[in-house]
């Protein structure tokens, strides 16, 4: 692993450090801008989950207690199912009248975003109009959930059983495993972002959804060819280290599964980036774990008919069993 990392460090040392730092700062600013708060009504400052059955709303000024007491003023439903309304249990207004805590009859699923409607907010005896709010967990939490989910909880190799041909082919030695993992992560991030762009701005507006498979696989081949050509010219040292793995990337199902998943779930750009990154890093983790075991198996005394692939499958099965322990885990 160290050798591979040193090789990358040596190859990228030519880049001016200033450029790298600028890129990093730009990335942070971008995340802050997108992750910042979004208000939809001038009188409502914030609405967020405080418990599974509780939503707390902060107003810009005090609201009338009589308005807050009427349960007909509030309704909530999951964004995906507008017909299923959840009844209100109680509404508690704080002493200064600025904070309203709504408790619902049933617990809400905090993983999904909810639509909360406040009818005719009244403050100081006059109406401020109705508010239609979206209540969701913080955006950064969603992103992190997707990243960790794709990397570990729903690991593409051990929990979804994808990309196995390449997985068994390149996990014989640690150096090969790390090289393949890094190459794969790079390519999948680029190709997924391209797929997202094309899906959102070409396929969806023109109703060409049924062409997904053809377009995505074409994009993947294009990305692989592009990375190959650019790397060969720009950085021959890096190409020498990772060029051999580029051909294998396209034979990996994960690289086509990720664009299909993000098109199906209607992810936005950052969510797509996180899914692709998580899938790539998850593949790297799986390869590294597997290669560590297989290097030791070389020295073990195994029955003749189990040598090679059969024992590798059984080791992978044990890994898959242990990864089942993560299933159902949810962060944030």
């Amino acid at each position: 692993m160290h050798r591979a990392l040193n090789r990358i460090a040596g190859a990228t040392a030519g880049l001016p450090q200033k450029l790298q730092r600028m890129g990093l700062i730009g990335l942070f600013i971008g995340i802050l801008l997108v992750g910042g708060c979004r208000t939809e009504h001038p009188y409502v400052q914030n609405a967020a989950f405080t418990a599974d059955d509780e939503i707390t709303i902060t107003f810009a000024g005090p609201v009338d207690a009589a308005w807050a007491r009427d349960p007909g003023n509030f309704s909530v439903n999951e964004k995906a199912d507008p017909d299923i309304r959840v009844g209100l249990r109680e509404a508690v207004l704080s002493a200064d009248g600025k904070k309203l805590t709504l408790r619902w009859a049933e617990p809400l699923n905090r993983q999904n975003s909810h639509r909360l409607v406040l009818q005719e907010i009244s403050a100081d005896g006059q109406s401020r109009g109705s508010a239609d709010l979206t209540v969701a967990k913080p955006y950064s939490g969603t992103l992190l959930t997707i990243l960790i989910g794709a990397m570990i909880i729903q690991n593409f190799v051990f929990s979804k059983y994808l990309g196995l041909c390449v997985f068994f082919g390149t996990s014989r030695k640690k150096s090969t495993a790390v090289g393949m993992g890094i190459t794969f992560t790079t390519v999948i991030v680029f190709s997924s972002l391209l797929s997202w762009l094309l899906y959102q701005f070409v396929l969806k507006p023109f109703r060409l959804d049924y062409l997904q498979v053809v377009v995505f696989i074409g994009l993947v081949s294009l990305t692989v060819q592009g990375v190959d050509t650019i790397l060969r010219k720009v950085n021959p040292r890096l190409f020498k280290a990772f060029g051999v793995y580029l051909v294998l990337v396209i034979a990996n199902c994960i690289i086509i599964a990720v664009p299909l998943t993000l098109a199906q779930n209607e992810y936005d750009m950052w969510e797509s980036l996180m899914l692709a990154l998580g899938a790539g890093l998850g593949f790297l983790i799986a390869l590294f774990l597997m290669s560590s075991v297989r290097e030791r198996i070389e020295f073990a005394n195994i029955p003749e008919s189990y040598r090679g692939l059969p024992i590798a499958f059984i080791v992978a099965g044990l890994f898959a069993l242990s990864f089942m322990g993560f299933s159902g885990m949810s962060l944030f």
Partner: protein, 206 residues
């Protein structure tokens, strides 16, 4: 190396047994592990792969003279993608329930190494009829492997076959666990290896 031309039945049997895509070539393992929990799933995906393999083999063997060797791989990929889209839409329209159970795997046929490999190794060098039979052999080999895996896992795990209760009890519930796919494939490969080495030893002895 010049090999004598094979008859069509030999081509067919080659794919079914000698070069079985799952147990011998160890290609397209993802569905063999992920989707072999029941006979029905294995059968349907096997049919889909058979269709894509035969159609792509025939298409490539027909247009092989017009493909520039440098762009042959992208051509294969796009041909396969087209046929995958066809079977994807057909399955979604006619067997929607089973299609939902197979999930993303039908679309992932496009990335199965076995199909591209047969196009590269066989279909781009042979005429229409041999390519058709080679595709049939490989497709049925895959179908055969998937069905066997599905049958083992369904009988041992659920005690049923194609959804009908056969045994009346569940011998090893472990086999329906998703992770057991790895073990089943591993054991099957070991058995294939054992039979092969056993046969070789006996031949030597006699």
């Amino acid at each position: 190396m010049v090999t004598p031309p094979k008859t069509h039945s030999q081509l067919f049997l080659n794919g079914l047994l000698n070069e079985n895509p799952i147990f011998r070539l160890a290609l397209s393992m993802c569905p063999a592990v992920g989707l072999s929990t029941s006979v029905m799933n294995g059968l349907l995906l096997g049919i889909a792969v058979l269709f894509v393999q035969v159609c792509s083999s025939c298409t490539i063997s027909l247009i092989k003279n017009f493909i520039h060797p440098r762009i042959r791989i992208p051509t294969y990929t796009l041909t396969i993608a087209t046929w995958v889209t066809v079977i994807d839409l057909v399955l979604a329209a006619y067997v929607p329930v089973a299609y939902k159970a197979m999930g993303i795997f039908v679309r992932l046929i496009v990335a199965f190494a076995i199909i591209t490999m047969r196009l590269e190794v066989f279909a781009c060098k042979h005429g229409l009829a041999p390519s058709f039979w080679d595709g049939m052999g490989m497709g049925f080999g895959f179908l055969f492997g998937m069905t066997i895996l599905g049958a083992i896992r369904e009988i041992l795990g659920m005690g049923s076959f194609l959804g009908y209760d056969v045994l009346g009890f569940r011998p090893l519930l472990f086999f329906v666990l998703p992770a057991a796919g790895f073990f089943t494939v591993g054991f099957m490969m070991a058995i294939f290896n054992y039979v092969e080495t056993f046969g070789r030893h006996r031949k030597k002895g006699c």
